[in-house]
Symmetry: C2
Subunit: 325 residues, 2 copies
């Protein structure tokens, strides 16, 4: 962490992001599911970011970051290290602006993820699968290219971009009592909380987090960032820990972080596929798992849920892996 | 077949059906998928009946039939024999009208399907798993109760109800060149064709049919109904053969029936889940499989597709059954 003042995005930044990404991002639908409402006893409004470009909300933040660059900055391209949805999102956003995206990926990243990034035109540099190697390789790429680094969550432009999902949700659905989002590095949750609290200060913002990667839960309790040492969950988009920028926003605006079990994630995911007919990835159903567990009483309320993404390996579904010892 | 004149539903019947079912049925969304468009070279508009009540278009026809009954007829309930989506659809429609639904099901119907019908309040009578036993048992139930039989497809009210999906699609999307639907008994295809041809006579109506259950393809070629003797396909909603009412409608209004392989059905289904993030059942992706196979040249056209349903056993996905010999 540096000693410079931390910049927090405002609702005005989120509105600017919405205007900036509008030509490129999908305005995703808000869906409802009677079976889900009956099961959890609330009126649930699902903001379907599984239908977003690249299959996840990550495109919003990456797109806002890429199109926030000056022409001069942009001409040298953008760079990040990621093996997940952010890598694909940044590659696509860069292609849409016509600039290069340099993506540092660990050598053990699945072939399907490498192919997806390459498919969006990303220039991939492989490195050893350690955080130190990833950071060193990224620094080298930046030194060689002059590319602008776009961090997956600890970046004001990215947080503002992620907040646009909530902006749209609140335009489409009035009088929400609560909004739920998953938390990993906290980019989506920060953007969600800033948008919700600016527009409707009385709205409660609650996050779902896998018990096996509960750094946000522990960090909020301790009042300081406590990263997860060895996070383990099928919600592989939520393995990362809070950043210096996302932690204070979450501290200020998020009422509660609720941890969920792997069993609840799998049950909620299967239910969403079977009954809501929506392909949502494990990370994306974590807020649904919060409702599913029933330990938080939201009965009778109007609840917004950010379904963050839908990228799933169809050959390895969690309820089937369970059945095959 | 009887010698009485066959009644064909008109666009006016379909519009009446739309008004009749509006308080009960979902107006399902029309979705698009860039990856699909790129793959098939057409602009594809997906009418998502997987999001319909009970997870399939069948609710439209059943609901129209149930709410077309006079109070006096309705008081004695409705009846059918079915182990599929029609059974659930009729049970739910009857419950919404507050009348009994008597459902004859073969004794070998999966427990999950029995539970679904019972969950909607259907009164189930089990019988031997032969067509003769099903018809005899239904006749007995009707004799005892006076219930009105609602056939899954060979029924004017049902056909008019199924046509409402196309009515909505054409309200939402203009200038379609072609509309594609799957064909089993022909209720959905008849309703689709009648609605499309009445509203836009130049629009081409094309059906997809599994090669393993190709009675409609053969019947159209022969000019007479040639039922399938031993149909075999994973598209289990399309095992039935055309009826006396649906055949002439299809003969008159459908340009072509295209058969698709099991491989094309599975590939199209997996693609829809992976890329469109939509849970669609094998029967529902048969029109997508038509595009997928590429034997029919629809490149550059605006193509409407009825995604007929999304009821899938998540424990038994076809691409995984393949991998497990």
């Amino acid at each position: 962490m540096s000693s410079t003042a931390i910049t927090i995005p405002t609702i005005s930044d989120i509105r600017s992001a919405a205007a900036r990404i509008r030509p490129y991002a999908h305005r995703t639908p808000v869906m409802t599911c009677h079976s889900l409402d009956a099961r959890v006893g609330a009126q649930v409004f699902l903001k379907c970011e599984n239908f977003q470009k690249v299959g996840a909300f990550k495109f919003r933040g990456a797109c806002n970051a890429v199109f926030s660059l000056s022409d001069e900055q942009a001409s040298r391209g953008v760079a990040t290290h990621s093996s997940g949805n952010h890598a694909q999102a940044l590659a696509l956003a860069a292609r849409l602006r016509g600039i290069p995206a340099y993506i540092v990926m660990p050598s053990n990243a699945p072939a399907v993820k490498r192919a997806a990034v390459a498919g969006y035109g990303g220039v991939i540099t492989l490195c050893e699968p350690t955080l130190a190697a990833r950071e060193a390789t990224l620094a080298q790429v930046v030194a060689e290219t002059g590319a602008a680094v776009v961090h997956p969550y600890n970046d004001v432009r990215v947080i503002a971009g992620q907040g646009t999902a909530t902006l749209e949700l609140l335009e489409d659905v009035s009088d929400l009592d609560v909004i739920l989002a998953p938390v990993g590095g906290g980019g989506l949750l920060s953007g969600t909380a800033l948008a919700a609290k600016s527009i409707a200060p009385q709205m409660r913002v609650i996050a779902g987090e896998p018990a096996g990667a509960d750094d946000a839960f522990r960090s909020l309790a301790a009042g300081q960032i406590l990263p997860s040492a060895a996070p383990n969950t099928i919600a592989d988009g939520l393995l990362t820990s809070l950043g210096s920028l996302t932690f204070p926003i979450i501290q200020q605006h998020v009422e509660q972080i609720v941890t969920v079990s792997e069993e609840a994630i799998i049950a909620a995911m299967k239910f969403m596929w079977e009954r809501a007919k929506l392909v949502v990835e494990p990370s994306g159903v974590v807020p649904v798992a919060v409702l599913w567990q029933g330990r938080l009483d939201l009965r009778g309320l109007r609840v917004g849920v950010i379904l963050s993404g839908g990228n799933v390996d169809m050959e390895r579904l969690p309820w089937q892996r369970e059945a095959q010892p």
